[in-house]
């Protein structure tokens, strides 16, 4: 006897099969498509469960802003006024963050240890290294021979700060910097470390510094994004670690707070220029139509991302005129090129990006991040380090000097930092001519200057091997809290509720503002 195709009861073999009943075939076909009693009861049970859950959760079942969509035209994201930021009158309005991706060697550049030269090829004392976990790249090494810096250091400026011969331009401006020798991080590999520096968390998915500022402080110029990213052209001779869009992601914040990158060659922003035959008026009409459709979608589904998309379309439209003006360097006076050097005329170089960063500061971009990759020197330090210093040193100096003479350094914060430092001992073979250096999270050197920063100081100290911080440590969360402080923000008050937690840039471990760095 044939069983009903949908029947799952195995004990009904002897029972009557409806399909064998003498009924017309079309009825049998109709029966076959119907739900069985079991399906009906099972589904009804689930529905009741969902209904119960929905009533328990109340409003949380609806997408955020859906209520607003039902009652008013469109949901509104909290404007900066609603956040009540800045918490106090800021010293700086904007940030230029020169990110040295890969981990610059503090020992060869700014953290001078005169005792190292005498200890060439001696093993680093175990007491210094302690129980430090090493990376897979050096953990297997039998010895950890000390590699003294290959370059000499001299004292510069009124402060008499020691600077390596590799940074002749940085040496000129030491009196204008707050050099932090005691920055320390928790991560030992690039991706988590760079995420920690940028988002305050080693795992991706959190908003970046620039996104937090965009969300918290809002815009000073509606024609340009609040958060812009400039990537420096890759030099193939260097060991380039990837820099991904996670580093300017808005995380759980609305995506209009994500960083906008300018390309280093060709059109700064792809498809920004209108295609042939489409003039600005046509573009406007199209955008208006799309916006109406988007508003319909918004009213229907209440997804805040739709709002973000509307805002982004409008931003892109305005950027069609503002970005060409931003990147047009033809009106820069000769003094600019004298300062930044001829390299600055070539799009994509570090000097060019520094110049653009200054122009963005003038035009009210909140947060500009310039990435320079290639600082990851596991071997051939003497070959690569001079090269990368030559690429970046003058740009940094030119940017700070340019901001200073134009009166912008009074309310702009400039930061130079990587994600970690490098080891005093050599990775791989050590010869008098060359050596390598592994990742070192326990201490690294960064600098900052600008509005709110106490300049002309060196903050924090490391031990004789530039291995451990011995005075005034500055963990990443304190670094970021200090940065927010310069912008008038209490790091505990810039929050966004997500996954049941008032999320913030400095994370859940208590952070404190480093008062020694403040003017």
């Amino acid at each position: 006897m044939k069983q009903h195709p949908l029947c799952t009861d195995t004990e009904c073999e002897d029972s009557l099969d409806v399909m064998n009943l003498p009924v017309p075939e079309k009825h049998k076909q109709e029966w076959a498509t119907l739900a069985t009693r079991r399906q009906f009861l099972g589904r009804s049970g689930k529905v009741l469960g969902w209904a119960a859950l929905a009533s328990l959760l109340g409003d949380y079942t609806l997408p955020r802003g859906a209520h607003a969509a039902n009652t008013s035209d469109a949901p509104k994201l909290p404007a900066p006024q609603d956040l009540k930021l800045p918490n106090f009158a800021p010293k700086s309005k904007r940030v230029i963050y020169l990110f040295m991706s890969g981990g610059p060697s503090q020992i060869d550049l700014l953290d001078y240890k005169p005792n190292l030269a005498a200890q060439y090829n001696k093993d680093i004392p175990d007491s210094v290294r302690g129980s430090q976990q090493l990376t897979g790249m050096t953990a297997g090494q039998a010895r950890f021979p000390i590699a003294p810096p290959h370059w000499t250091f001299k004292r510069y400026g009124k402060t008499g700060t020691w600077v390596s011969d590799l940074l002749p331009y940085t040496a000129r401006m030491v009196d204008d910097l707050a050099i932090i020798k005691s920055t320390s991080t928790d991560a030992i590999n690039h991706e988590p470390a760079i995420m920690l520096m940028n988002t305050g968390n080693m795992n991706s998915g959190k908003p970046c510094l620039g996104s937090w500022l965009s969300y918290g402080l809002g815009s000073m110029n509606d024609n340009l994004p609040r958060f812009m990213v400039l990537q420096t052209k890759v030099n193939d001779k260097e060991n380039n670690q990837p820099v991904s869009s996670r580093l300017w992601s808005s995380g759980f914040l609305s995506s209009e707070h994500a960083g906008v990158g300018l390309r280093s060659s060709g059109d700064p922003v792809l498809y920004l220029s209108d295609p042939n035959g489409v003039d600005r008026e046509v573009r406007r009409k199209m955008l208006d139509a799309v916006e109406r459709i988007n508003h319909q979608t918004l009213a229907e589904l209440g997804d805040p991302e739709t709002n973000a998309r509307i805002a982004q379309y409008e931003m892109a439209y305005r950027m069609q005129t503002s970005v060409p003006e931003l990147t047009d360097l033809s009106k820069e006076p000769q003094s600019t090129w004298d300062l930044y050097g001829p390299e600055a005329k070539e799009p994509g170089t570090f000097a060019y990006n520094c110049l653009l960063a200054r122009r963005m500061a003038e035009r009210g971009v909140r947060f500009t991040q310039v990435y320079k990759r290639g600082w990851d020197m596991h071997d051939n330090v003497t070959g690569i380090l001079p090269m990368i210093c030559r690429e970046t040193d003058r740009g940094c100096y030119a940017l700070v000097t340019d901001l200073k003479r134009r009166g912008l350094l009074d309310d702009t914060l400039v930061i130079w930092a990587g994600e970690f430092g490098r080891t005093v001992y050599s990775q791989g073979g050590l010869t008098p001519e060359n050596y390598g250096r592994d990742h070192h999270p326990r201490c690294y050197t960064t600098w900052m200057t600008g509005g709110g920063v106490r300049t002309g100081i060196t903050y924090g100290e490391t031990d004789d091997y530039s291995y451990n911080v011995v005075k005034d440590p500055v963990p990443v969360r304190d670094f970021n809290a200090t940065l927010l402080h310069c912008l008038g923000i209490d790091h505990n008050k810039l929050t966004y509720k997500f996954q049941g937690l008032d999320q913030k840039l400095t994370g859940t471990t208590p952070a404190s503002v480093v008062s020694g760095l403040l003017a």
């Binding site: 009158a89 000499t152 004292r155 510069y156 011969d165 590799l166 000129r172 009210g364 003479r405 134009r406």
Partner: protein, 497 residues
Amino acid sequence: MVVKLPIASTDMLPSQTPSKNPTWTLRISSLSIGLALLSLPFLIKLDGRPHADWQQFLGRFHPLAVHLPIGLLLLVPLLEIVGAFRPVLRETAEFVMGVAFACCLVALTLGYLLAYGSGDSGTAVSRHMWGSTVLTISVLVCLLLRPLWSSASIPRTHVAERLYPLSLICVLLVLFWTAHQGGSLARGSNYLTQYMPQPMKRWIAPGTVRSAAQNPDSFYAKHIHPALDGNCVVCHGEGKVMAGLRMDSYELLMKGGKDGAVIVPGHPEKSLLIERVTLPTGHKLFMPAEGRPPLKPEEIAWIKAWIEQGASPTATQLKGVLIREDAKELPPEPVGDYSSLMPEIKQIEAGQGAKLLQVSRKPSDGLILSAVDVASSFGDTQLAQFQKFAPFIVEAELGRTAITDASFETLSRFTHLRALHLEGTSVTGNGLSKLASLRELNYLNLSGTKVTSTSVHSIDTMKSLRHIYLFNTPAQPAPPADALQPIAKKTDDPIAQ
């Protein structure tokens, strides 16, 4: 008064109840202790000269010993009050007071040794000394009066009942006053008032808000006097005059102490002051003494330069000494509350595109007028429309706008303006002097404009103006010579290939 009255009353009482009263021996011995204490300052005078080392050695235990009687004496009234409910506590009060008296005697002796041995003198020293003498005697009196008050068998006269509480209150008052004098000796008379909020200071101690010298702009008044005041006057001032030297005014400083003049104008190397503060910190004669922090290097440098150039009380500037004056930044004056104007602010923003950004969540921090978005279309007429909000605007970002010289008139009415950005505009500086009425303006950016040095000089008188940027203008001053060590030349550039 405090001393005599209770003693007189004890003398009257014994005839009534001889058996319960302190014995004659006790009374005579206490009377003689009191007299001895009172006569001590007259017998051995504080002459301001240091004496035997052993005296100083013992004397320096005075700060240690002095706190015990203070604590015990404060405990006595507490025990008496709480004793009303728990009688057992009241019984202990007499014992505590007895111990307090003994401690008073020890502390007093040590204090006297300290003052005599180290040669301290001055009004605060003698006030402290007299205070503690009176205090010790008052405690003794209290001790003698207490049986009259607590004993049930003595007939309670009106006077006897009140005398003990009254004298106890006197003890407390004398204690507070004396302790304050002692604190002023150790920490300086302005220790309590130094960081007191200004209004409170004026109310409590009008005398402490004083000007340092006749000429408040002189180098002495601005830099030398504060340095001495902060480091030396604790021991060489009105309150305490160590080695006969006072440094709290110019005249007294120049007069010197028992070792002669401490300042020889024109010769810092012969000046005792410089000699003492530049000794190695461990040296016996190093100043400031008693482990106080040494003078800062720049303070020593200023004093040296000041002596070298004649130690004048009136000179306002010294050659070769340039002190940045911007160390003390006064908090800006709060502007009014613009909250009620928010609808109008929103309206004008929507109309023109220029923004009025809030400096912070506090309305008293003011607004920033930002025309960055609409730079090319923002001109004099647009700016004029913002006049209504002028009292609330503390910063105007007008860089690269179409503003012209005509706007100086408008801007001069932005009374709270602190920062003005005019970089890259077509202003020429004609009428710049109108800004002189902006008393809070401290930042003026004229980079990339056509302003001339003559028009810039017209605002030289503005005191508040600290930062003025003239980059890329006809008025640009010659670039400063590279003060830093020259960068290695091309030939020996270590990073040149």
